[in-house]
């Protein structure tokens, strides 16, 4: 399995932000996207994950193969940690949540209401959800926000395990994950040029 993105142009608010993006990630590999704030990393990841349509270009894999994690973790405060994970496990039709709990050392917190967790613990719960999905492609946007160094190591370990199992990962992050095998790609060169102004057509420019 290989994730191939060819000539992808992504839009935010109807305006192209990145254009002609080409990238490929093969099974067992991870690709880290870099770039300054606001360049369109989130938009790119959302487009690849199938949450928004691309203006041009193709993504080789279907969205049914991907698990997406964004800035918000989708945690329900009144439910316990275990209940939150069990919900996603049954939605994705995977059975057990034990592996996910173990990977992010959430076992001691399993019976706690998620609303009482610290920001870092919530983030760990959000990342544990990725394990539960059982999907081969992880698309992750700033996964390490509010994690301490131990938790970042946990995360790197979880990604490594995922890759070893034949999965692949696409991440946008600023910090060094300690994932030495991951390739790094700067999305800066793909920044969309302002469209030329001529007589107006469908884009009103």
């Amino acid at each position: 399995m290989e994730l191939q993105v060819s000539d992808l142009t992504v839009t935010r608010g109807g305006i192209a932000v990145l254009e002609g993006v080409n990238l490929a990630v093969s099974a067992g590999a991870a690709l880290v996207l870099r770039g300054p704030n606001g360049i369109g990393k989130t938009t790119l990841l959302r487009t690849i994950a199938g949450l928004q349509p691309a203006l041009l270009g193709t993504v080789s894999l279907d969205r049914e193969q991907m698990a997406y994690s964004g800035h918000a973790d989708g945690i329900k405060a009144p439910l316990t940690v275990a209940e939150n994970l069990t919900f996603w496990a049954s939605v994705f039709g995977t059975g057990s949540i034990d592996a996910a709990l173990a990977a992010f050392q959430l076992d001691p917190l399993a019976a706690r209401p998620a609303g009482g967790l610290s920001a870092g613990q919530k983030r760990r719960l959000g990342l544990a959800r990725m394990v539960v999905t059982g999907r081969p492609v992880w698309v992750m946007d700033e996964p390490t926000v509010s994690l301490d160094t131990d938790a970042v190591a946990m995360f790197a370990e979880a990604v490594r395990a995922h890759l070893a199992g034949g999965g692949l990962a696409l991440l946008a992050t600023h910090i060094d994950l300690g994932l030495s095998e991951a390739r790094v790609m700067d999305v800066g060169p793909f920044k969309a040029k302002p469209p030329t102004i001529d007589d107006f057509d469908g884009a009103f420019l």
Partner: protein, 249 residues
Amino acid sequence: MSSIWEYANPKKFIATTNRLLPWVTGLAVVLMAVGLVWGFFFTPDDFRQGSTVKIIYIHVPAAMMAINTWAMMLVTSLVWIVRRHHVSALAARAAAPIGAVMTVIALATGAIWGQPMWGTWWEWDPRLTSFLILFLFYLGYIALWSAIEEDDTAADLTSILCLVGSVFAILSRYAVNFWNQGLHQGSSVLRAGALMGDTEERVSNVFATPLFISMAGFVMLFIALVFLRTQTEIRARRMRALLARERMQ
């Protein structure tokens, strides 16, 4: 002249409507003036309704345009959904306030006519009630357009609302008919009301010609306003696009 879809290009639309606009406006002014002056000054009073019959020259065309505007919005919304022509979505947006004003006129003239006829400003007559509901639909549609910042999102959502709303508007029309018939069956006042705004056979010939001229005038007025307001929406949209592009640099 290859196909009608060429006019979906904003620039082409503006150029074409600019050429047509003076003619349409002139026609609207002439037809409305003739229809209304003829109706107001040179038609006899009705033997039952007296001079209030003169209100039909405004009430009937306004009511017709209130419904036709929604129908036009439905068509342009469908065109947007199916063919993604921006001008079509913007035309629907431009038309909505016109339809709302026409609905208000139909309601106001209906109420003013009802005061001497029914002895009350407001009667929950099925026809008037349906127009009140139609007005609520216009309000919701306009409010949704102005609440959403992103243009294409707004166009998509309002189009779907227009589609769903159309079905519910027709449903409401039947529901309201059923509901009022249940309340006062066979009231003679309501049968007298059927003369107002009913099909042309019932309105005798003396009233028919100026009424048709006035209706044609209202149609022309509508077309002129839609042209002008759609141009405005296109320009506003282009301005937003230019400003957004400026921010990119």
